[in-house]
Symmetry: C2
Subunit: 205 residues, 2 copies
């Protein structure tokens, strides 16, 4: 393809393409949009990126993203400090917070075990979790990894690792997603929903 704009725009498109979920077409579209946007708008976006990157670090307690040493969740005195939900990614914290169903703390692993890509336990924030277990009064660790191969492997690894730590280790419930059609559920999900079937509590009958 001819690049009628020297390497300047090509460079920008290349860099935009490295962002998650941005393919060649969208990278091109965004680049051209930026070139036709007001100067100061582009500068503001650029400095917002740099500023956020510079100021945001990992919370010293839970490894979530934070602006101060401790993230806002860890430094919130009204959270239940006996319960820690282990997740793979800071975005998962966002997702769980949105539910409003959890009032404990988090621990962010920053990834999942993936031997094929060379990600072992040392690449994750697992030693930080163990350190918390000895330093804090944690009663329950809720494993909130993704319901996929890597996430389940990570959970199984943690279950074994935490076996002797004297804490309850629980996992998120598996079953049919709300709002779906039984007919369209994949067989693994449906099988798990059957295996995990529950009696209706008396109050609901």
């Amino acid at each position: 393809m001819v690049d009628p704009y020297s390497t300047l725009i090509g460079d920008l498109i290349d860099r935009l393409e490295r962002l998650p979920g941005i393919g060649p077409k969208s990278a091109q579209r965004i680049a051209f949009h930026l070139l036709q946007t007001r100067d100061d708008e582009v500068s503001r976006l650029a400095s917002s990126m740099i500023e956020a990157r510079r100021q945001v670090r990992e919370c010293v307690r839970c490894c979530n993203l934070a602006v101060l040493d401790e993230c806002e969740i860890c430094s919130n005195a009204r959270r239940d400090r006996a319960r820690v939900c282990v997740v793979e990614d800071p975005r998962d914290v966002f997702a769980i917070e949105r539910t409003g169903a959890f009032n404990g703390l988090y621990h962010v692993l920053h990834g999942s075990l993936n031997p094929m890509e060379g990600i072992g336990p040392e690449e994750l924030r697992i030693s930080e979790l163990l350190r918390r277990l000895s330093a804090e009064d944690i009663e329950e660790v809720i494993l909130g990894t993704n319901p996929n191969l890597e996430g389940e492997a990570t959970s199984m690894y943690l279950v074994r690792l935490l076996h002797d730590e004297g804490v309850a280790v629980t996992g998120l419930a598996r079953g049919l997603p709300t709002g779906g059609d039984l007919e369209y559920a994949d067989e693994v999900t449906l099988g798990r929903a059957l295996l995990g079937r529950r009696e209706f509590p008396a109050a609901e009958i």
Copy 2:
């Protein structure tokens, strides 16, 4: 939704959301990705944006994006200067260049007529086109606007405007797209393909 990161990340997400094709979910995903990317990578993306925006301007001849006064197409002595293809957007130049089927020059309107959004002829680079017609030896103007309502309206406006300019005014062929199923073609496309049917040239029989 709780924002556990003060307004810093929220700002970044907001700004990313203004980019074309980026919804709230992707903006969040990109923001978190940036926060976990190496410092210098983020700086390079940011300065690439600013640099491209600063150096790229409009070609004094065709209004396409250019790094020098004239874009690389206009300053290429091997292009056919008698033929000018009028397009709405710099991205359309990219698209036509990729085909390798056109060796003339371009003229970029930077939009299409859209009275509902207050975009009239003065908002487009139409006076620049008229100036070129009197200053250059142009024999044919090929209208390459988008095959939608606004694009067609823009073409019809230009057809009338260029009527007395002593140049041939042509439009891109309409018909069935290559690789599609006749069954799935919309009725307007199929109707136009019928109206625009052509005899097979003797060489093909």
